[in-house]
């Protein structure tokens, strides 16, 4: 069990907060849901009394509280100054999301979490702000802010991850980069970012499960596994490449969909930025790929005996399998 069973309650309130904010008809309700979501994520972070977790929880709380304050404030001046209010709401949601100009907290908080919480932060916590942003696509100013933020986060995510040796930070930057695609998807229409989000959650979930099962937090952790199995050495690199969106893997499918609709709408400049930055992200995924595929494991074998979850877990294997060969399945059945 990744969480103590008593934390199931918080998990349920977290989900209900997301649901509440997505389905509410007023900004007040949305704010309420976001607050509920935030306040139930904090106990999920601090499962143990550990300075890293506490630090991450405090940082997360401060940022999210700030964003919520701005949100509720600008929602309340809605009738008074309409255009400013919408822009302010959008900016606060981008802050909650960790999209590009407001991304600085995101890698730091992710660095403090353990893998299951990081997964929640990378996927479920994005759902509510994303939905709310997708409600804000009615004026040109808002659209151009969304596009600007998307392009900036694609570049930031690509360049920020270049020098990372810590896997959680790397996942955070890759998440920022993927968020750029989702924001562009919001620009195009709701269905596109939902599809992208589904695929991204699946792919990153499978990568995170692999990393969690091998207890690796840095690149060198990944290399110094004592339980080197051939399967592991094939699956981890392939999963990572899938996250990078290289063609034969599942991660390529959402990119393909996005590229198709971007080019159909002849938005070639954003497409150029997104593709360039995804090439750069591929470079830092390759840095994880290469040491594992060099087939020289003999050095640096540590004596730490790990309880390898890998050989036993069928869910892990099947998730990785779908992640690698997923594009061969009929795509409509996967969505």
């Amino acid at each position: 069990m990744t969480f103590p069973i008593s934390y199931l309650f918080f998990f349920l309130t977290l989900l209900s907060g997301t649901t509440l904010s997505v389905s509410s008809t007023s900004w007040f309700g949305a704010w309420l849901g976001l607050e509920l979501n935030l306040l139930s994520f904090i106990p999920l972070i601090t499962t143990k009394l550990c300075p890293y977790l506490t630090e991450a929880a405090i940082k997360y709380f401060l940022i999210q509280a700030l964003a919520s304050t701005i949100l509720i404030m600008s929602a309340s001046i809605f009738l008074y100054a309409q255009s400013i209010s919408h822009v302010m709401i959008l900016l606060s949601l981008l802050l909650k999301l960790g999209a590009a100009p407001f991304h600085f907290w995101f890698p730091q908080v992710t660095e403090g979490l353990s893998w299951p919480q990081a997964f929640i932060l990378l996927t479920i916590q994005k759902l509510a702000p994303m939905f709310l942003i997708s409600y804000l696509t009615f004026s040109d100013t808002l659209m151009s802010i969304i596009m600007f933020s998307a392009l900036l986060s694609s570049l930031v995510g690509a360049l920020g991850g270049l020098n990372m040796m810590k896997l959680r930070k790397l996942m955070a930057f890759s998440s920022i980069n993927h968020m750029a695609w989702m924001l562009v998807g919001i620009y195009l229409g709701d269905i596109y970012w939902l599809i992208y989000f589904t695929f991204y959650s699946f792919v990153s979930g499978s990568v995170i499960m692999l990393l969690y099962s091998t207890h690796s937090f840095t690149v060198s952790n990944l290399l110094n596994q004592s339980s080197k199995s051939l399967l592991l050495n094939m699956f981890i690199p392939m999963n990572i490449l899938s996250l990078g969106g290289l063609p034969p893997f599942l991660g390529f499918a959402p990119k393909w969909i996005m590229i198709q609709f971007l080019s159909a709408n002849s938005m070639f400049i954003p497409l150029l930025v997104l593709l360039t930055s995804s090439l750069i992200t591929l470079y830092f995924y390759l840095r994880l790929f290469i040491p594992l595929s060099l087939l020289s494991f003999s050095f640096f074998i540590s004596n730490v005996k790990l309880t390898s979850l890998f050989s036993s877990s069928y869910t892990l294997l099947s998730m990785s399998f779908i992640n690698i060969f997923g594009i061969l399945f009929p795509i409509p059945f996967m969505i």
Partner: protein, 444 residues
């Protein structure tokens, strides 16, 4: 097509048994080769896959080269160097290649085209020799990927314009000025990098030098031909644009060919010499494709097959020397005739095939291509004559420097060649020189 794909997938299951896989590969190649006399335009159609004549030749070539790879990489088996994974990677690569060549859909073609890059990367990184293989691998991946993402975009744009991505239904686009030129460039550059055309060839020598023998053989034998094959397929869409750009590709590749063949004469590394020589040959192939003539297309197919067999055989030879002396340098590997006298015959036979001697396929292909280029413009004769002169001279350089002279003093004894190695070379050489008797097989 499934009757060729399923045996491959089954062979992955037996990846621990080298012998079974090897026999199985030759068996599948044999079954495939039985299809060479067919009268239909498209055959083995199903599941969006199908072969026409060009695809058939390329698929046959890739099956054959991968079978020969298994013979020539016995060292992997002997050293127990992850041999089951080696076989798995090779067969996966073959599966992707077969998918690429047989797909009837541009997008499927693109995906499997890209997919073939990953097993190649794993081959280079996993079984290469020097630490520089990391650099070479990344270089190759990013060079090809950076140029093929525009290809994906342009294919999807083509989909939204024409409504279909089926290769056989594709039609010529009418000119749209500026945009269509950009479109054309972004489409063809992906394949020009893969081919590689002069100026985009920088990844090739690096990748070849660092790759293990299997990687070099598959690179020279099949992967470069992906570029030519792809060009043949996509240029249907861009007939009008290609007419305007034809002069550029022809002149760049002819002058580049001359230049690269001069570069070849300065190489001391056998593998990089052979790698550069494939750039020279591929430049001829490129000319044949972009000129859009029947003879050009036929000649380019013949030269691709000929070069695939010949350069893969030369890489084999270089690797045999490398396994014995531990060096690829021409300075160390001198006087091999005293060392491996009977291997000298194979060096000779494959070298002369490389310089387009009768009765090799290279000769026939080059004759057809030279005629094509001459009929296109008389001016090309200067470039062509220099190119064929120098390509003969660098092959002569390689042959004489490696075979003649006094052998390196610190070499004491070695085996002059095993049956297995002779078999591998023979199976390279035989189709290369026999097929000219019925050259309609490799023509289209």
């Amino acid at each position: 097509m499934l009757k060729f794909m399923i045996p491959l997938v089954v062979l992955i299951k037996y990846s621990k048994e080298w012998k079974i896989v090897q026999v199985g590969m030759f068996f599948v190649s044999f079954i495939l080769s039985l299809h060479c006399y067919h009268n239909f335009y498209l055959f083995s159609v199903g599941f969006n896959l199908g072969m026409d004549y060009i695809s058939y030749i390329m698929i046959m070539l890739s099956f054959w080269v991968v079978s020969l790879i298994l013979i020539s990489s016995q060292k992997v088996k002997k050293l127990d160097n992850f041999n089951s994974m080696f076989i798995m990677v090779n067969i996966m690569l073959l599966v992707f290649l077969v998918l690429t060549f047989s797909s009837m859909d541009y997008l499927m073609f693109y995906i499997s085209f890209e997919a073939s890059l990953i097993p190649t990367l794993i081959l280079i990184l996993g079984w290469g020799y020097q630490p520089e293989r990391i650099q070479a691998g990344i270089y190759m991946l990013f060079y090809t990927l950076a140029f093929s993402l525009p290809l994906l975009v342009s294919l999807l744009v083509y989909y939204s314009v024409s409504g279909s991505l089926i290769i056989n239904l594709s039609s010529s686009l009418s000119g749209m000025g500026y945009v269509s030129k950009l479109w054309y460039i972004s489409t063809v550059l992906a394949f020009m990098v893969k081919l590689p055309m002069f100026m985009f060839h920088l990844w090739l020598p690096k990748a070849h030098v660092e790759a293990p023998i299997a990687g070099s053989m598959i690179l020279a034998g099949v992967l470069l031909k992906l570029g030519g094959y792809g060009l043949i397929r996509v240029l249907i869409m861009f007939q009008e644009n290609n007419k305007e750009f034809c002069w550029l590709w022809v002149s760049v590749s002819i002058m580049g060919g001359v230049y690269i063949s001069l570069v070849c004469m300065r190489q001391v590394d056998m593998k990089s010499l052979i790698a550069y020589s494939s750039v020279v040959h591929m430049s001829l192939v490129l000319c044949g494709i972009v000129i859009f003539s029947w003879w050009g297309l036929a000649g380019c197919m013949i030269l691709m097959v000929g070069h695939g067999l010949c350069s893969s055989g030369l890489f084999c030879l270089a690797n045999m020397v490398y396994e014995r002396t531990g060096s690829r340098s021409l300075m160390v590997n001198k006087g091999l005739l005293t060392f491996m006298p009977s291997m000298g015959l194979w060096w000779f036979l494959l070298s002369v095939s490389n310089m387009a001697s009768p009765p090799s396929l290279n000769l026939m292909g080059e004759i057809m291509l030279i005629l094509t280029m001459l009929s296109w413009s008389k001016l090309t004769i200067f470039g062509i004559s220099l190119l064929s002169f120098f390509s003969a001279s660098y092959t002569l350089y390689m042959y004489s420097l490696s075979q003649h002279g006094v052998f390196y003093n610190s070499l004491y004894s070695c085996c002059s060649g095993k049956v297995n190695e002779y078999l591998s070379l023979f199976l390279h050489w035989l189709p290369l020189n026999i097929m000219i008797l019925n050259s309609t097989l490799v023509m289209i």
